[in-house]
Amino acid sequence: MDISMIYYLVPTLVMFCCGIYGFITRKNMIAMLISIELMLNAVDINFVIFNRYLFPGQLEGMMFTLFAIAIAAAETALAIAIIINLFRAHKNIDVSDITKMKF
């Protein structure tokens, strides 16, 4: 049975847009981070699909995905560390309260 590529591509695009929507609307920093993870995962799946369907002879997309997963993990670790540092001082991780510097 063959599933056409479009049935994979539409969900990843929806995932990516959900990530952008969540990043913009959420106020909790952890939720914003989760939204970004959603976007990064959409990218990973996209690479794998293109590799699997369009260029099955090579592994470039798969390799990129492996590296992208590691990079995403490093990014999340650093962001969590900074959020924890903020939480220790504020007891609060709501972005609408972090407004000391503005125009």
Binding site: F16, G19, F23, M29, M32, L33, I36, M39, L40, A42, V43, N46, F47, F50, N51, L54, F55, Q58, E60, G61, M63, F64, F67, A68, I71, A74, E75, L78, A79, I82, I83, N85, L86, A89, I98, K100, M101, K102, F103
Partner: protein, 483 residues
């Protein structure tokens, strides 16, 4: 595998060696020796910079199946960045030894060297996987550097704003890359360029992918719709980190941006990205200038000024020819000297009195004439007043853009010129505050540390020297015309 390929990446390995030496010194040196760590790191880096200048510059080599490339131009831009980093290191010695920072000063140097390594990879990458790794290696440690004063609220706030926008932008950038991969089946710069050129018509998916890629790098360069993090991060970060962020990080990103747009997407210049860049440049220069006018904090002010300077740098990419590349590199070189002079003065005043507001600079000339003079030269150079280097860098970048010859480019350069006049107003506001205005509580006379004075002397010499001596620009023009 041919291990001699590693010899192609002399600069990268050099930075790693300096990093390891500083790391070992920081880890194993007893407490007594720790106080000279900033000095040791600076001297080591100076040796490395000298080594990069002395060692033969390759004509053109690539390594690792074409993923990594080096050429005279690439070595030249790396050397330009090296000089900038050296000045940043010299200027930050006093801050690194200050009471609050002293306990973790080693980390500042280690993180800084790692980010520099990432920027080198960005510049040399000829495959998008290596480029993304370089981009992340450059931007993640920077977030840790922005959060360096972790007990100060502004620093924490700046760090969270920086890291969230950085990850968001790299997610968008990688989404663009996945579309490019789907269209062309490769991540090598040359293969993508060939596939695009062979494709004939421009598909709408390619335009979308290009928009994603441009906005992803636009975040790093703080071009205007994506610039909102800039002012907050520049204000909140420690001043040494801000000066590093504003010149070195921006210079590396601008050069890498040019490489991507011209080498990968060069075939679709007029169909796809010319107009995107056109709109970005106008917005960046204008909005950066207009927001700079109303800033009271000098670090925020320099942030918006650097936003508008990024717009001028983009004009060199717009030219899409060898003259544009030379003008862009010369602009980065001059920008490094002028902006570091301004940040050097801000840092010296902040270290001595803790003040960064423009109002507190009133009457500075009466108490600290030399510092005000250095600041005046920096402002003149940033604004582009003739005898100084800033005038020539702007002149060359406008000339290279005009050489395209279309009416639209003339209009663009005209808008940039009008904006130069606007920028003159706010740069001179600082000069007016220092020289003409008077205040009751003037910053008292102080003697800045020897390292800060050395840094300022170098930058002032650069501002004046690059304006008078023409051989630097001629040299850059020579090497860029070869490729």
């Amino acid at each position: 595998m041919d291990y001699s390929q590693f010899l192609a990446m002399k600069q990268e390995i050099g930075v790693l060696v300096v990093f390891l030496l500083v790391f070992l010194y920081d880890t194993f040196m007893p407490r007594k020796g720790q106080a000279v760590l900033p000095l040791v790191a600076t001297v080591l880096f100076a040796c490395f910079t000298a080594f990069c200048f002395v060692t033969p510059w390759p004509d053109s080599i690539d390594a690792f199946a074409g993923m990594y490339a080096s050429s005279t131009v690439i070595v030249a831009i790396k050397n330009i960045l090296n000089v900038g980093v050296l000045i940043v290191l010299i200027q930050s010695i006093k801050w690194a030894n200050s009471e609050t920072t002293a306990i973790r000063r080693g980390e500042f140097y280690e993180l800084l060297l790692v980010t520099l390594f990432g920027m080198y990879l960005m510049i040399s990458a000829r495959h998008f996987l290596l480029f993304v790794i370089g981009l992340e290696t450059a931007s993640l440690p920077l977030a840790a550097m922005v959060a360096f004063d972790k007990h100060r609220h502004e620093s924490r706030e700046a760090a969270i704003k920086y890291i969230l926008t950085a990850i968001f932008s790299s997610a968008i950038f990688m989404m663009g890359l996945s579309f490019v991969y789907g269209l062309t089946g490769s991540l090598y710069f040359t293969n993508i360029a060939m596939a695009i050129a062979a494709g004939g018509t421009v598909s709408s998916l390619l335009v979308l992918a290009l928009a994603f890629v441009i906005s992803g790098i636009g975040f790093k360069l703080s071009l205007v719709p994506f610039h909102l993090w800039t002012a907050d991060v520049y204000q909140g970060a420690p001043t040494s980190v801000t000066s590093y962020l504003s010149v070195i990080s921006k210079g590396a990103a601008a050069f890498a941006f040019m490489v991507i747009l011209t080498q990968v997407f060069g075939a679709v210049y007029s169909q796809a990205w010319e107009w995107m860049l056109y709109a970005l440049i106008i917005l960046t220069i204008t909005v950066g200038n207009l927001f700079a006018i109303r800033q009271k904090n000098l670090k925020r002010f320099l942030a918006f000024s650097s936003v508008s300077q990024a717009g001028y740098i983009m004009l060199g990419i717009m030219a899409d020819n060898a003259v544009g590349a030379a003008a862009l590199m010369f602009y980065i070189l001059v920008y490094i000297f002028s902006n570091l002079a301004a940040f050097g003065v801000v840092q010296a005043v902040e270290n001595a009195s803790g003040k960064v507001d423009m109002d507190s600079y009133k009457g500075l000339y009466k108490t600290n004439p030399r510092l005000s003079f250095a600041m005046m030269l920096a402002m003149f150079s940033l604004a582009g007043i003739p005898p100084f280097a800033g005038f020539f860098s702007k002149f060359f970048i406008f000339t290279s853009a005009i050489s395209q010859g279309s009416i639209a480019i003339y209009v663009l350069v005209l808008i940039a010129l009008i904006n130069t006049i606007v920028s003159l107003y706010y740069y001179l506001l600082v000069v007016k505050a220092m020289f003409i205005s008077d205040d009751d509580c003037v910053i008292p006379t102080f003697r800045s540390a020897g390292s800060e004075r050395l840094g300022l002397w170098i930058t002032v010499a650069g501002i004046v020297g690059l304006g008078i001596v023409s051989c630097f620009y001629n040299y850059l023009l020579d090497i860029t015309s070869i490729i």
